[in-house]
């Protein structure tokens, strides 16, 4: 029996090694959203395209939508833009833009030059809605269901994998 005790350090080492090995493949940037399963924060902000138009949650109630956080100062957003146009062209889900801490002329130019995948774009100049959403970098994409509940959040550009997952969650595949 005491001989078996000699294997305790080896067993501990193996267990520790397994945890550390798993740790190597974890993404330190992956952060669960605190908002999953909670209602999309209420907001009242102007549109980028029509400064006089005030947008609220009611503007996308009743159907699942993607909310895409972007800004003209964000290089990855430019990279992501063509993918968003492709997604919009599939007509499976409406995409709502959220222009985060940006300037209106630059944003308007962006939409005119690169194309506009958004049903409309919320102009969050101060980043207040971004703060309520827990945005910590653009681009970020949220899936909001018909009841206005956040179902999914992705930080970073939309990849085909992410789009697959979103379609499954939204039942539009």
């Amino acid at each position: 029996m005491p001989r078996l005790f000699l294997f305790i350090p080896l067993a501990l080492f193996v267990v520790l090694g397994a945890f550390l090995w798993k740790g190597l493949s974890l993404d330190p940037n992956a952060m669960p959203s605190a908002l999953i399963g909670k209602p999309f924060p209420s907001f009242k902000l102007p549109s980028v395209e029509q400064p006089d138009r005030i947008l609220t949650n009611a503007d996308f109630a009743g159907k699942p939508v993607l909310v895409n956080v972007w800004a003209t100062w964000c290089p990855s957003c430019r990279q992501e833009h063509s993918d968003l146009l492709a997604i919009a062209a599939q007509h499976k889900l409406d995409i709502i833009g959220l222009d985060y801490k940006d300037e209106r002329p630059a944003a308007t130019t962006w939409l005119n030059d690169l194309g506009n995948p958004y049903l409309f774009t919320i102009f969050d100049e101060q980043g207040l809605l971004g703060l309520d959403l827990g945005v910590f970098g653009a681009p970020e994409t949220y899936l909001v269901d018909a009841q206005g509940i956040v179902r999914f959040r992705h930080v970073g550009t939309i990849t085909p994998d992410v789009w697959d997952k979103v379609q499954e969650l939204a039942n539009v595949k």
Partner: protein, 165 residues
Amino acid sequence: MLNKSGLSLLGLWLLLASINATAAIDVYQFSNDSDRVRFHQLTGELRCPKCQNQNIADSNAPIAQDLRTKIQAMLTEKKTDAEIIDYMIDRYGDFVLYQPRVDRRTWLLWFGPAALLILGIIVVVLISRRNASKNTADKLAVNTLDTQQQKQIESLLNDTGNHSS
């Protein structure tokens, strides 16, 4: 070993380093000192969501600046520390806490070290007890052997005594 130019380089580096170190400090106005103390405490123990291993106080990330401004605004609105921390958790999750809350998922984190310490003490006590009892047993064994030998010696002595008489 530093020559003159090396020294001046070092001096320049120190100068630049100190500029860098103060870059994150903005000017925040507080109506009283306790708010200022709470501000430093809160920004010190809340983690910047963007930058992994910096608190809100030290980070230069735009989001950290926004959160500092937000915390200052909430302090001015007379919000309690708990309200401010809840506000952050509602948005960024437990990730922002450098002092994780005590709940079922963090029991291991909070009580694990103490449990390991107690386990270690138990093991040490058990081992030392076992050694101690083994030692006394050894001593007893030596003693019994001695008494046996003593008796043998005595009987031998007695035998020789009988023969001689």
